[in-house]
């Protein structure tokens, strides 16, 4: 039985760096190639030597597919393609291809900014890597090679995020990447066909969470910002260049407009224009509301949000600043944080997760005294808030997607083991399908039962029709006789004559023979005649001929009579038939035997 194998190198029972190997129909595909920000050495990348040694990745992998631009999904790509060496195709959607290098450059900057970072890719490597990328459109089937095809579906989550269906013959796998089943302020909800894949590989970040409504979280966020501003405080929101930042910007912009607020909102390092550019360029990837209103007003052209200059941080009075990077590990967000940390009127809102070793991680866990360079200590007096705005499907959303796609098997990745276990139970109970959750390095194997499509020749169909019987009906399978030929990678059922012709073969006849002895005192022709008469009376509807050469033919069965030299009453019947009539011969032989052992036959023999 054919098998599909799924081996996570990352994202197996954890969240960190997604990298999942799928082996389907003899093809090897890598789904995502992410980076773990918690490490400063090569451990941040998946260990590709598990796949193949000596860097023969190009030979082993048929393609790499990247689901979206987050670094835990694409951050190891230049390392793999340019440093380890991979020259095969890489697929991602148009927006992902455009935005990916920005995020990679952003991260490269952080590594340069930090000390002692070695073995990291350069700008040139990022560019060379992006040159290997083949962009995908939604719902367009892309033929990777003669057998392997892929198709992208909208996933929400971030601009350009896609789920992808991978198909080889009749076997298929769907990989969700990160997805969101509820629309937000700038993106729509994930959607997929009822494509019934053999395996649905789904993220499970919020496997056990039914998230409170988005509205609730938004209200909470706005309330907190507003309160802080009202008391004259400054609000810092550390973000990554593109993604959640834009959603929060829209949120604040609308709120400022409605409440007629005057406190300035700033966005750091010129990313507003860049983001604007991409959201304009890929407007079709945003949600319906943004697309509709785009003609009158571009949602991303903000009235209240201005570009930030580093000296503004010292200005008196309240303000809100979006600054990069998102975990407070370097650069502008860290610089502003240092300036504002000492004042309890101020606030920092962390809209996402922070890895160990970052200031973000420390303050989220409640550290209030931070060591800084030059042996100084920073007293954190400002208010620290965590409000996750990352858009993942929650437990309800995951179940909804399963209902949409109707997979034969489920496989969970990108989540914590304990939470996965819980969801796995729920899925198996509700949908009665197997749910796998391999750890990193472990392989989940699913046996498939592929249906192989076969073409049938019109002539053969016509011939079947001529034999009578009901018209062909897909719901009522029936037996057909024909020859299965494989030509140019497709299967065809044709008549044997056509097969011979198409394959350029000669026909050979195969006949079976047997001898039957019986006691009959009549002369040979008489015996034959008697047989002929009897068969004629018993086998109605069959072609039975008495031929001048002293043989009787029933269909292809030839019967000949001869008598033994010593004993003329002992007759030897020679029977011969073609292999096609093998089944018929059995039937015939039974009637034949019943005939020669019938009372009538025996009486006639004795009489004579």
């Amino acid at each position: 039985m054919p098998e599909i194998k799924v081996t996570p190198l990352g994202a197996g029972q954890d969240v960190g760096r997604s990298c999942i190997l799928v082996s389907i129909g003899g093809k090897n595909i890598m789904l995502d190639c992410g980076m773990h920000m918690g490490y400063n050495d090569d451990r941040r990348f998946p260990d590709f030597s598990y796949i193949t040694q000596n860097g023969r990745l190009t030979e082993f992998l048929d393609c790499v597919i990247i689901s979206h631009f987050h670094l835990d999904h694409c951050g190891a790509l230049p390392f793999m393609s340019e440093m380890v060496g991979y020259d095969g195709p890489i697929y991602m959607t148009h927006p992902t291809k455009a935005i990916c290098p920005i995020l990679l450059e952003d991260f490269r900057k952080i590594t340069v900014d930090k000390k002692g970072e070695t073995n990291f890719f350069t700008s040139q490597m990022i560019k060379d890597c992006m040159k290997k990328v083949v962009p995908l459109n939604l719902h367009q089937t892309v033929q990777v090679d003669d057998e392997l095809e892929i198709k992208a579906y909208y996933a929400g989550h971030v601009l350009g995020a896609a789920m992808v269906q991978i198909k080889v013959g009749s076997e298929s796998v769907v990989y969700t990447g990160d997805y969101n089943m509820t629309p937000d302020r700038h993106l729509g909800a994930a959607w997929i066909d009822k494509c019934r894949p053999d395996i649905l590989i789904s993220e499970s970040t919020y496997a056990t969470t039914i998230r409170d409504s988005k509205r609730c979280r938004e209200r909470d966020f706005l309330k907190k910002v507003h309160e802080s501003i009202e008391r004259g405080g400054k609000v810092l929101i550390p973000v990554f260049a593109l993604g959640r930042a834009q959603e929060l910007c829209i949120l604040l912009e609308t709120f400022w407009e409605r409440m007629n607020l005057k406190a300035p909102i700033y966005f750091s390092t010129g990313l507003t224009e860049k983001a604007n550019h991409y959201y304009k360029l890929f407007i079709t990837w945003t949600n319906q509301k943004i697309r509709k209103t785009f003609v009158q007003r571009n949602m991303f052209e903000f009235k209240h949000i201005k570009a930030f200059d580093r000296s503004y941080a010292d200005n008196p009075g309240p303000m809100v600043v979006f600054a990069t990077p998102g975990m407070l590990h370097a650069g502008q967000s860290l610089q502003i944080f240092k300036k504002w940390a000492g004042n309890e009127k101020n606030m920092v809102i962390m809209p996402g997760y922070c890895v160990q070793g970052t200031i973000g991680h420390k303050i989220l866990n409640g550290q209030r005294k931070l060591e800084m360079e030059g042996r100084s200590t920073l007293d954190v007096k400002l208010q620290v808030e965590y409000m996750s705005f990352s858009a993942h499907a929650d437990a309800k959303g995951i179940m909804q997607l399963i209902r949409m796609a109707e997979p034969r098997n489920m496989l969970l990745v990108h989540g914590e083991a304990v939470k996965m276990e819980f969801l796995k139970g729920k899925i198996e109970q509700e949908f009665s399908i197997d749910c796998h959750m391999p750890a990193n390095g472990e392989t989940a194997t699913v046996t498939t039962n592929p249906s192989v499509p076969v073409d049938i020749s019109l002539n053969l169909l016509k011939r079947e029709m001529a034999l009578g019987g009901p018209l062909p009906d897909p719901k009522k399978p029936r037996t057909m006789h024909g020859t299965l030929i494989m030509k140019e990678n497709s299967l065809k059922l044709v008549s044997s004559e056509q097969a011979l012709k198409e394959l350029g073969l000669n026909e050979h006849q195969l006949r079976f023979t047997c001898r039957v002895q019986l006691q009959d005192p009549h002369s040979d022709p008489d015996t034959l005649n008697r047989i002929y008469t009897h068969l004629k009376s018993v086998l109605k509807g069959y072609t039975i001929q008495h031929l001048p050469d002293g043989t009787v033919m029933v269909e292809s069965i030839v019967i000949k009579v001869s008598s033994s030299a010593e004993d003329t009453s002992t007759k030897v019947l020679l029977l011969s038939w073609s292999y096609q009539d093998d089944v018929f011969f059995c039937f015939f032989f039974v009637s034949f035997l019943s005939l020669i052992f019938s009372k009538q036959w025996l009486r006639d023999s004795i009489d004579s």
């Binding site: 954890d14 969240v15 773990h36 400063n40 598990y50 193949t52 000596n54 023969r56 030979e59 987050h70 835990d72 999904h73 020259d87 900057k109 900014d113 930090k114 000390k115 002692g116 560019k127 060379d128 040159k131 090679d145 990160d178 409170d212 990554f240 010129g270 860049k274 200059d309 580093r310 000296s311 010292d314 975990m327 590990h329 370097a330 502008q332 610089q335 996402g352 997760y353 890895v355 160990q356 070793g357 200031i359 991680h361 420390k362 989220l364 866990n365 409640g366 550290q367 060591e371 800084m372 360079e373 030059g374 965590y386 996750s388 990352s390 993942h392 914590e416 750890a439 390095g441 472990e442």
Partner: protein
């Protein structure tokens, strides 16, 4: 270990050992282990430095409810502690090792099913196996069979770790059986060779025998579908043969050669690549030319033949890289006339751009891979650049045609590679024409009025990568043009426009680098006649570049701007030593000082660091600290610079103000006057005073450290583990407040 860490470690152990507490993320455990490894490698004894670890280990091991991650960590930690003979002895005396590595215990507790525990077991044992006592322990505990079983574990990671471990045992202790043999892996050789006793030798032989027999028996798959084991064994063999010394290598080869041959003959495609690895590893020593080697050679040949279609595209890139390395070789070693290579490469390029195709099956396979492939095109173009020989008129014509076509391709990837090619060509051309021969093809492209219009066009490209490559290519043509004395295409207004308006960082970075190249090429090649005009033109632009570059939003633009500032400083102060004051006045006028000061307060560390270093150099030049403050100030008193009322100027003013109040008593009146009115308008300060008052040396120290060394320190890690645990177990955590590991 410092005192603070030592005082925190017991609490951290408590958190980790308490199965009720939430466990820190796996990176924390890994980093903790890194720290312990570092301490051990530095020669310290973990047991002595942190006695709490012993208690921690036994608590964790006896608690079957421990988190598998923590258990795995504990096993590895134990192995690390037992890596020295002393540590091993102490752990053995307290029967810790028997508990920790007791397989039955883990199996009965149902924990063995967790792959991370199995990895911990293997890696822990592996760390231990650094001395003969550990080998005895390993052999006496009968660990060889379970280890061989793990070699085909369902987990890729476990199987690989087991392979590494098997290789380690055989390689590390191989000296035991043949003291003084060569060819041992260098890395292993660095470690202290184990003391040899009869007992150890016997144990090692037993291990070698056990493993070799297993290799021999299991190399040939029992069923055609069960290839996993053969695959794993081939990987192990490749590891071993690549590093084993002669006695071990010969023994291994003796054992497996027949099976290997059988495998090769069976011709299973899935095993072809690992088989090749083994054969190559075995064939490492070409010196020994016995019949066995010959047989191995045959094997290689066979494998290569069966594998030919697979490596078709590989050999393509191989031949390209071969041709790339050609120029460094003497001309006699060319495999065929250069024209043939050039023709081949050009036709490959034509296939790449879709203008040529072939119908044969092998070719269509290659075409599919090659069409639009940036890597192949890049390689091909680089090969052409490197080949550098006269390819003949027809090929030249083709090349020009191909380049022109590619320059207006729909895909930015193709356009960019083309522009990059022209840049490379210009670069190579310079180095060639400095010699004697001139390449026809590059002349046709560079001199034949092809390059400049194409690059000019590319400056307007919609893709920022292409614009950047065009600017870099133009910078390379500068030198070529200077040499030829040809009229230079200087798209200065367009470049300055890109610097001030382009929304993407790459072209802006390229613009600043263009001016750096100009600066260089002008000083090295420019003929005296055109020197004056080009210099004044350059200097006019440089001012704009400095002011715009240092105000840029991209950190690399700013770093490049500082590099340009460095060149200007070097030029100003190296040539005329006598008039320091007028030199200083000129760099102030050029905007160099403003660029440096603005960089100093930048939030991106590389920028601030570079600026700080340059400012210190400048300070050493114009007012060395050895000189009395008064002398220097007196000499430079007249040279001052403007501080803008906002942005970096404000920030500098603030620092100066703070410094001033710190040293209120020693403040001189002139400085006070300069620093006072920083409200809005520009302010003028003397350069020497600024340089003296910015505490540059302290800043340099902080900037050199970066925050990273603090936040990745062991102390920070221990603190993080403690606070994370406290935060997660805090009773009043609001629902929905839980920090969920999601994405970034």
């Amino acid at each position: 270990m410092d005192r603070e860490c030592a005082s925190l470690l017991p609490s951290v152990c408590e958190v980790l050992a308490d199965s009720g507490r939430s466990v820190p993320d796996d990176t924390s455990l890994e980093k903790l282990l890194d720290w312990f490894t570092g301490l051990t490698e530095a020669g310290g004894s973990l047991l002595e430095a942190c006695p709490c670890l012993l208690k921690f280990i036994s608590t964790v091991v006896h608690n079957t409810a421990s988190d598998p991650g923590v258990l795995s960590f504990t096993l590895r930690l134990t192995g690390l502690m037992a890596a020295t003979e002393d540590g091993f002895k102490m752990l053995q005396e307290r029967s810790v090792l028997n508990q920790v590595f007791n397989l039955q215990h883990w199996q009965e507790a149902g924990l063995w099913d967790d792959p991370c525990l199995r990895i911990g077991w293997i890696q822990g044992l592996r760390s231990t196996l650094q001395h003969p006592k550990a080998l005895s322990f390993f052999v006496q505990s009968d660990f060889i069979d379970p280890l061989l079983q793990l070699q085909t574990d369902t987990s890729l990671f476990v199987a690989s770790a087991a392979n590494q471990m098997l290789a380690h045992i055989l390689l590390f202790f191989q000296k035991v059986s043949s003291a003084g043999s060569n060819g041992v892996n260098k890395k292993e050789e660095d470690l202290e060779p184990p003391a040899i006793t009869m007992e150890t030798s016997a144990e090692y032989s037993a291990v070698v025998k056990g493993i070799s027999e297993y290799l021999k028996e299991s190399l040939i798959p029992k069923e055609n579908t069960k290839l996993h084991q053969s695959l794993q064994i081939l990987k192990l063999l490749a590891l071993l043969l690549a590093q084993a010394g002669p006695p071990l290598r010969d023994k291994l080869l003796q054992t497996v050669t027949e099976s290997l041959e059988e495998l090769v003959t069976a011709g299973c495609s899935q095993l072809t690549l690992p088989l090749m690895d083994v054969i190559l590893a075995a064939n490492r020593y070409t010196g020994c030319k016995d019949s066995r080697t010959q047989r191995r050679g045959d094997c290689i040949l066979y494998v290569k033949q069966t594998n030919i279609s697979l490596s078709l595209s590989l050999s393509l890139s191989l031949s390209l890289s071969l041709s790339l390395s050609l120029p460094s070789q003497p001309p006699g070693v060319l495999p065929c006339p250069p024209v043939l290579i050039v023709t081949a490469v050009v036709s490959l390029l034509r296939i790449c751009s879709g203008s040529s195709s072939s119908s044969s099956t092998g070719c269509s396979e290659v075409c599919r891979n090659v069409i639009g492939s940036g890597k192949v095109q890049k390689c091909a173009l680089e090969a052409l650049t490197a080949l550098n020989s006269s390819p003949g008129d027809t090929v030249c014509l083709y090349l020009v045609e191909v380049v022109k076509k590619r320059a207006c391709d729909m895909r930015w990837e193709v356009r960019d590679s083309t522009v990059e090619f022209l840049g490379h060509l210009a670069g190579v051309h310079v180095s060639v024409t400095l010699g004697e021969e001139v390449c026809d093809a590059s002349e046709a492209l560079l001199g034949g009025c092809c390059t400049t219009p194409l690059l000019k066009e590319a400056l307007q490209d919609t893709e920022s990568y292409v614009r950047a490559s065009a600017i870099s290519a133009l910078a390379k043509t500068l030198t070529h043009s200077w040499q030829q004395g040809a009229s230079i295409f200087l798209p200065l207004s367009r470049l300055l426009e890109i610097l001030s308006q382009d929304t993407e960082g790459f072209p802006r970075r390229a613009v600043v680098q263009y001016f750096i190249s100009w600066f260089f090429s002008r000083s090295s090649h420019s003929p005296p006649s055109s020197s004056t005009s080009s210099t004044s033109l350059l200097m006019q632009c440089v001012r704009t570049v400095l002011s715009q570059g240092s105000a840029d939003l991209d950190w690399e633009v700013k770093v490049h701007t500082l590099e340009l500032a460095e060149l200007l400083l070097d030029q100003a102060f190296s040539a005329h030593r006598e008039g320091v004051q007028s030199d200083l006045a000129r760099v102030v006028e050029q905007g160099v000082i403003s660029a440096l000061l603005s960089g100093l307060v930048d939030c991106d560390r590389p920028v601030a660091l570079k600026a700080c270093r340059l400012l210190i150099t400048l300070r050493e030049t114009i007012c060395p600290l050895s000189l009395g403050a008064l002398d220097a100030t007196a000499a430079m008193a007249t040279v001052s610079c403007e501080l803008l009322g906002k942005g970096w100027g404000q920030e500098i003013t603030k620092i100066l103000g703070m410094e001033k109040s710190d040293r209120a008593l020693e403040t001189d009146i002139s400085a006070q006057r300069s620093f006072s009115g920083a409200d809005g308008g520009g302010d003028s300060v003397t350069v020497s005073e600024v340089l003296r008052s910015l505490s540059l040396d302290e800043r340099l120290e902080v900037l050199t450290q970066s925050s990273d060394h603090i936040h990745n320190s062991p102390l920070s890690l221990l603190q993080d583990i403690l606070t994370a645990s406290a935060a997660h177990t805090h009773p009043d955590t609001k629902p929905g407040q839980e920090v969920i590991v999601d994405c970034y």
